[in-house]
Amino acid sequence: MELMLTGFGMVADPAIIGVILLGVIIGVLVGALPGLSSPMAIALLIPFTISMTPIAAIAMLAGLYCAGTFGGSITAILINAPGAPPAAATALDGYPMAKRGEAGRALGLATISSVTGGILSLLILLLAAPLLARIAITFTSAEYFALALFALSMLASISGKSSIRNLIAGFVGVFLSTIGIHLTTGVERFTFGVNELYDGLPFVPVLIGLFAVAELLRQARVGETVFERVRANVMKLPSRGDIRRIKYTVLRSSGLGTFIGILPAEGATVAAIMGYNEARRWSDRKEEFGTGIPEGIAGPEAANNAATGGAMVPTLALGIPGSVSTALILGAMVMHGLKPGPYLLENQPQFLYAIFAAMLIANLAFMAIGIAGAKLFSQLTLIPRTILWPSVLVFAIIGSYAHSSSFFDIWVMAIAGIVGYFMLRFGFGPAPLIMGLVLGPIVEENFSKAMIIHDNSILSMMERPLVLLFFGLTILSLAGPVRSAIKARRNKKLLLATKEGE
């Protein structure tokens, strides 16, 4: 109880509440704007946190993360353009409901479901993270290596165009993390004589390049989009009837979203899609889905926001990110001198309560901001792209430069952006690469230690039951996409055979 009060006290500073609210406003704004994403905003915002205390910085980024996931639903409902991928499923029923003249009701349902999902997942974070940390503290380097390998293998199944390409991008990310001085032997690796690379590839410019500049280059040939807007007067909180109708959907989706969030690498987008599918599966009005029914909004919204709290569980307890956004938050924590993982929760347990309080404030704040400003946020899409994207470029340049006042970092950002653009064209997403870059040092450090302890024998490592379990899970997660591919091939063959028969 005392720890909880200390944690809450850390956030109860007006300045910290101020930065959380700022993070929420930026999050809703970015979430509402198609093309801009939460990971991009977090990457651009990290340089702003350089002079903040670690708790203020992480609270601000956590606030942005929660609000960014919700923000996408505003434009998904009002203009049928999901501002962020996790809101894509919300548009399926949100927009038809809005078109029927019930935009306020749709926004209200989305807000209440999001807030409920977010808060329930935070309660699970509060219970699960210390338990997980207590288990993780007994891990040796072999278990940690196997766990990080499992997290990497999950990249095969995260949303994207291809499992193989996700894995390649993930391994490239891990490889990039090996650039610089090898900590145990002091040998320079892949620096090619560039002094600035001795400490490794600068993290923030790579993030900004991959998320912001690559997208900017993609937007260069996209014309101005004119969206058909639905008139929205005020957001209407759900009626008692609506709440009765969606309560089980919200509870189910919150649980599902939290669980998906906890899985390494899986994020809010997968949670939202599964939340929508499950809402439909459990409904006795399956045929009405897609026509604008409350369950179709509540399912994905509760799930995608629940995934934010869920994703923080492995991030804080194990130091293994649960999603791309948490990978960036984890990077920011390291930048601020914190080492996420079981020892952080063991030595500074109040930190968990502080993050909980920050995310709770963020959830309540986006409810208030969403209710008051939904109409305004939907108008943001009126900002011409010729003004919006140059602003992103300015932030990208200055954000890359700010960390070490070095033009070398701007070069890294520009090159990462161009490489990221071509990666996108060839089906390689930036998310697996960033996950690899964050997991890289954990994988290598524990791999090296485990190899020394186990006399360079992987077989000897596998004598430990948890290592065997994580290796087994790794094989299962790699087999998942193979199974889906075989199933898809079989379905396609069946379809072709049926067509030929006709």
Binding site: K161, I168, F190, A402
Partner: protein, 180 residues
């Protein structure tokens, strides 16, 4: 007319089913490029200096990167056959790959590299002012009454925030532009 229609049908079928061959050309090239890079980096890792006698008892510095390079190389070998493995998602990859790269993308890329190249010389403030004014112009924005106030106000706020509030050192460049 009929032939045109058949031709169109064939193209549509091809676009839906993907190429009929065992391997996909562009993905084979991509795989070869990746494998060549892996071989090159593997070769570079052979040139790492030997760690000291005591430190040499650790896992050697080239050991882990080489494992990764081998893993990337093996995965790259699957790329040419991916269209036969990922039948559902592969059309999306091809669609993204086939979308033409507009001249504006190349111009933006080139301008960005030039701007970064001259950035140290002209200074940080001028670099961001040029980015704020130049990109709208490059992308066809001609409303100067929109660009000028935007560039002045936006870059002013951002510069003030970083230079004064966050105490970031701004390279003054040859024109000596600085807020401090």
């Amino acid at each position: 007319m009929n032939q045109d229609a058949n031709g169109q049908d064939a193209r549509e079928a091809e676009s839906q089913d993907g190429p009929k061959g065992l391997i996909d050309g562009p993905d084979t090239v991509l795989a070869l490029v990746l494998i060549a890079l892996c071989v090159l980096l593997y070769w570079v890792s052979a040139g790492f200096p030997e760690p000291g006698l005591f430190l040499g008892e650790n896992v050697l510095p080239e050991h882990f990167p080489r494992l990764l390079l081998v893993a990337i190389g093996v995965l790259a070998l699957l790329l040419p056959f991916e269209h036969r493995l990922e039948v559902d998602r592969w059309p999306l990859i091809r669609k993204a790959r086939r979308a033409p790269i507009g001249a504006s993308t190349f111009v933006t890329m080139g301008s960005l590299l030039i701007l970064v190249g001259i950035g140290e010389w002209i200074g940080t403030i001028l670099t961001i002012v040029i980015a704020a004014v130049g990109l709208p112009l490059l992308w066809g924005e001609r409303r100067l009454m929109l660009i000028i106030p935007y560039a002045a106000i936006f870059t002013g706020i951002v510069t003030y925030l970083f230079s004064i509030v966050l105490s970031v050192y701004f390279e003054p460049g040859v024109f000596g532009l600085t807020l401090r």
